[in-house]
């Protein structure tokens, strides 16, 4: 059946690729239409839900990649695991959080929130590839705005910005109206 064939094709492509592929690339690699890719991905996700499956299609940074399931990480860690040894400092994380949750945002806006110069941190985050320039703000001086990158999503294993961790309802209330921008 065609459906099965499409699913099989998508599975093989995800297996052969070692980087996350977005749906557009999956379509061009498989020769399927965008809708066929979407449907095949859906079927794959369902198939891999089986408890006897150790891998599954994971949304990562706007694309799809096959990855081992979280439940069996513990058993694989010793042999295949690599621990992230370059964690972000508190100051870098604060700056990154401001950019992630309020993007696009200018350096001056970051500085206003943190009360300290953001110059070094912005440069650091740019160098690590977590943020990128995101157009100029339409105010006098036309300052540069910054936003997060695909690499940022990948690092935090997020499918999209919408997957950023959220404040609890209580915290939301506590921080009041200023929450609006967070949606």
């Amino acid at each position: 059946m065609d459906e099965d064939k499409n699913t099989a094709l998508l599975e093989a492509i995800l297996f052969l690729e070692s980087e996350a592929m977005d749906e557009e690339h999956l379509a061009s690699a498989s020769g399927l239409s965008a809708i066929e890719v979407k449907e095949a991905l859906q079927r794959l996700c369902v198939e891999y839900e089986s408890p006897s499956s150790g891998i599954y299609p994971l949304r990562s940074g706007g694309g799809w990649i096959l990855a081992p399931k979280v439940e069996i990480w513990e058993d694989l860690k010793d042999r295949y695991g690599r621990k992230n040894e370059s964690k972000l400092s508190r100051a870098a994380m604060e700056t990154l959080s401001i950019i992630a949750y309020s993007q696009p945002v200018t350096r001056a806006e970051i500085e206003a929130i943190r009360g300290v110069s953001a110059d070094g941190m912005v440069r650091y985050l740019l160098a690590r590839g977590f943020i990128d320039e995101a157009g100029k703000k339409d105010i006098p001086g036309k300052p540069m705005q910054y936003g997060t990158t695909q690499d940022f999503l990948k690092y935090f294993k997020l499918g999209s910005i919408a997957d950023l961790p959220k404040l609890s309802d209580i915290e939301r209330n506590r921080f009041g109206q200023s929450e609006e921008s967070l949606g």
């Binding site: 052969l16 508190r90 110069s117 294993k157």
Partner: protein
């Protein structure tokens, strides 16, 4: 430990960390990410609400912190002093009758400080969530790297090798050599290497079964060539790759494969 547990553990550890700083009698500006961080810490330490800061006492403690600091660099310090100035301004305004500031245009520095603190606190909280997330994903499982392609063509498929000559080989190799620092390529770049001699020895063994040492020396006038040939021979004997025989002192050395019985001749 699953991810929820580890996240909870992180949060706990962070709170403990804050308490540890609080219980310390002295602390340094470098413990804080900025003036707002310090101010939030003092408010928490004094168990005040952000909306109801006891300005006089907080300002006093804040200035105390600054006074005790001489190591932080000047740029950073100026940011701390900026906030000190704001605190002092608020404190001084509080001493004056309030009706003086009923003016519509008057911006209450106290209110704007509160707003700032709330905003900053919100992002601190979000940064904490991001930190937890970072912790949850700190392990990645790495897939062995390789070119994942369909199975290779059959070994008989010669199309891959069409039109290659030995110079292609050298050119390819030299491109690697270019990319290495001299220390790493010393073995590779050496005109005559022990490895080369070992390889030649294997070749002669395969071709002739046994051979003499002079055949190993391809550049008889080169001392290096001779030395490499000899070292390679010693190495091979040690590794039980070859056996050697010498029919007289200082005579030529005959080299045999290790497994072969050494026969006379």
């Amino acid at each position: 430990m699953n991810s929820t547990q580890s996240a909870a553990y992180v949060a706990e550890a962070l709170i403990e960390g804050i308490d540890a700083v609080a219980s310390k009698r002295s602390f340094h500006l470098s413990d804080f990410d900025g003036p707002l961080d310090l101010l939030l810490f003092l408010i928490k330490k004094n168990e005040m609400s952000i909306y109801d800061i006891h300005i006089a006492s907080i300002t006093e403690q804040y200035l105390e912190c600054l006074a005790g600091e001489d190591r932080v660099d000047l740029d950073e310090l100026s940011e701390f002093y900026n906030l000190a100035a704001t605190l002092l301004l608020i404190k001084s305004r509080q001493l004056l009758p309030s009706q003086d500031f009923d003016d519509e245009d008057y911006e209450d520095p106290r209110q704007s400080l509160i707003d700032k603190l709330i905003e900053y606190q919100k992002y601190k909280k979000l940064a904490l969530l991001m930190e937890q997330r970072e912790m949850e994903v700190e392990w990645t499982l790495e897939r062995a790297s390789m070119q994942r392609v369909l199975p290779f063509p059959e070994p008989s498929d010669d199309t891959l090798w069409a039109d290659l000559d030995v110079w292609d080989l050298l050119r390819t190799f030299s491109s690697f050599v270019q990319n290495f620092d001299s220390e790493r390529i010393i073995d590779l770049y050496e005109e005559i290497s022990i490895n080369e001699k070992v390889a030649l020895m294997l070749e002669l063994l395969a071709k002739k079964g046994h051979f003499s040492f002079v055949e190993l020396v391809t550049r008889p006038r080169s001392a290096l060539d001779l030395a490499c040939a000899f070292l390679a021979l010693l190495d091979s004997v040690k590794n039980r790759m070859v056996r050697i025989r010498q029919h007289k002192l200082f005579g030529d050395i005959q080299i045999f494969p290790f497994e072969n019985e050494v026969t006379h001749g």
